[in-house]
């Protein structure tokens, strides 16, 4: 059995744990050109969430990230179909500045759907600190919204330097470093320590043994968030990695749900009410 803690035993035996709901803060949805997904559609993703005890998934739809013609409409539809299980990030593409301005203008129509914004700067080829994103950053800063950014070590678009720029400029935005500057682990820790509005999100980090311990020790488990890129990665794999890591069950509770509950409380009535 993985490790020997009460939480590990519970997940090992049952696959999900009532006292430890999981909040997946980095998901997607729908088909994607490069990957075959057996469970990419909304209903199948909800099944996966049920199996692993994932209470809520915050996601951006693949269409919104890869097909500007389609945009965020499929995400809005999915959240409204499963309002207790899903929230969306309004996905932005800086190659189309007018759509960013429009998304910011209309954001309040979708307060039941969105918790903030999502950037995918490396894929779109424009730095997260670039001018086209400015209206969204200013909006997030003014309203305390979450901004999930794909971040990768060494990237000119969403590496450490770009993250420092936006973290300093927009201190009231809650900035989630998707993949935690993958590979540039020391910079991720330094930035989390330097900027209290930055959180380390663990998608694709959970299969790098040693990173979890380094983050927990250097930045603190209260700054770490669970994520899987669902439907890319099996949540049980991510949970199992956390159970294997040399951290405490208190750390695991922080990472799997407590930190997310605090971040999501302003946006999700059930969490605000202490469900």
């Amino acid at each position: 059995m993985i490790n020997h803690t009460p939480l590990a035993r519970a997940f090992w035996n049952r696959g999900r744990v009532r006292g430890c709901p999981v909040y997946d803060m980095h998901g997607h949805m729908g088909p994607y050109s490069a990957i075959y997904f057996p469970r990419g559609e909304t209903a199948r993703m909800i099944e996966t969430m049920d199996e692993a005890g994932v209470a809520m998934l915050c996601f951006s739809h693949h269409h919104a990230l890869t097909a500007p013609d389609i945009g965020n409409a499929p995400a809005i539809k999915a959240v409204r179909a499963y309002p207790k299980r899903l929230r969306a990030y309004c996905a932005l593409n800086a190659n189309y500045p007018e759509t960013i301005r429009r998304e910011v203008r209309t954001f309040d129509r979708y307060r039941d759907v969105y918790v903030g914004y999502k950037t995918l700067a490396d894929y779109h080829g424009i730095p997260i600190s670039a001018e086209p994103y400015k209206p969204a950053w200013e909006h997030a800063d003014a309203c305390g919204l979450l901004v999930l950014n794909h971040t990768w070590g060494g990237s000119a678009n969403d590496g450490a330097e770009s993250v420092r720029e936006v973290a300093g400029a927009y201190p009231r935005a809650k900035i989630l470093l998707g993949h935690s500057l993958h590979g540039d682990w020391d910079a991720a820790v330094e930035i989390a320590r330097e900027f209290p509005n930055v959180y380390l999100e663990l998608t694709a980090v959970l299969d790098d043994r040693g990173a979890i311990e380094r983050f927990a020790e250097g930045a603190g488990s209260d700054r770490m968030l669970f994520g899987t890129d669902l439907p890319w990665f099996d949540p049980h794999h991510g949970i199992g990695a956390l159970l294997s890591a040399d951290i405490t069950d208190a750390d695991r509770h922080n990472i799997l749900h407590r930190n997310a509950e605090k971040l999501l409380a302003p946006f999700v009535p059930e969490i605000k009410a202490g469900r």
Partner: protein
């Protein structure tokens, strides 16, 4: 369910690694902590230092540990660095190295009949498995070209990546009956279930990629996969036990 990890390594890499595991004793301690019964291992010196020296190093390192079996790293025979196949297999049998590994890109040779014909012909006849890591020293074109020349080779494709590899490995599974995939990087949600439904459980092998990855990730994923218990047991250890028992070293 007993876990037999078909793809893990130990030793100190030349470049900085997040959490290396230096010795066989440390590896076993980590396996005990996780609940992994056995492992088919290789040593980092086999890839980064010298295949020949690394083979000897690995054999000595695991000699006292019957829960660890090793992999012999092959080289082209033309430079006199690899003994003839039968002699090689005898040495492997004596040192509990029960499978072959190859790192053709790192070791600068082509993984094909011109280079390795007699050795791999004998591996086919003796059903000695060859493990290839798509992330470490091999690529998909190497694997496809090799299997076109040796269609009956027992071949385990390892570390095939977490970014969607079904379109790359499924054609091999369908074409070549003795090709297997490992699980170390197969994080795809629903992937195990989908594979087992289409191909059955006999072509998939549990592995972790340790120490690059945590033991517990794939253990928990397999434990709670929506497939029959017998299929889980086959993937966790039964298939690898069968493959190794078939090898006539």
């Amino acid at each position: 369910m007993e876990f037999f990890d078909c793809n893990c390594w130990f030793g100190l890499p030349q470049k900085r690694h997040l959490a290396p595991v230096e010795t066989a004793d440390r590896l076993l301690a980590e396996m005990d902590r996780a609940g992994v019964a056995k492992a088919l291992v290789w040593h980092i010196t086999q890839r980064e230092c010298s295949a020949s020296a690394g083979n000897d190093f690995l054999a000595k390192a695991i000699a006292a540990h019957d829960r660890l079996a090793g992999c012999w790293t092959i080289l082209p025979p033309q430079c006199g660095e690899t003994p003839p196949a039968r002699e090689l297999f005898d040495r492997m049998a004596r040192t509990n190295l029960r499978a072959l590994r190859a790192f053709p890109s790192d070791h600068r040779y082509l993984l094909n009949r011109v280079t390795l014909g007699p050795l791999l012909d004998e591996a086919v006849r003796a059903k000695v498995p060859l493990l290839l890591s798509v992330a470490k020293g091999t690529d998909w074109r190497d694997v496809y070209a090799l299997l076109a020349e040796f269609p009956d080779l027992t071949c385990v494709v390892c570390d095939h990546g977490c970014w969607g590899t079904d379109r790359q490995f499924r054609p091999l599974i369908e074409r070549y009956p003795r090709v297997y995939i490992d699980l170390a990087a197969y994080l795809l949600d629903g992937g195990i279930e989908d594979f087992v439904e289409k191909y059955g459980p006999d072509r998939m092998l549990f592995s972790t990629g340790f120490p690059d990855a945590y033991h517990g990730g794939m253990m928990l994923a397999l434990r709670h996969a929506k497939i029959p218990e017998a299929a889980k047991c086959a993937i966790a250890s039964g298939n690898l036990e069968r493959i190794l028992s078939e090898a006539r070293l």
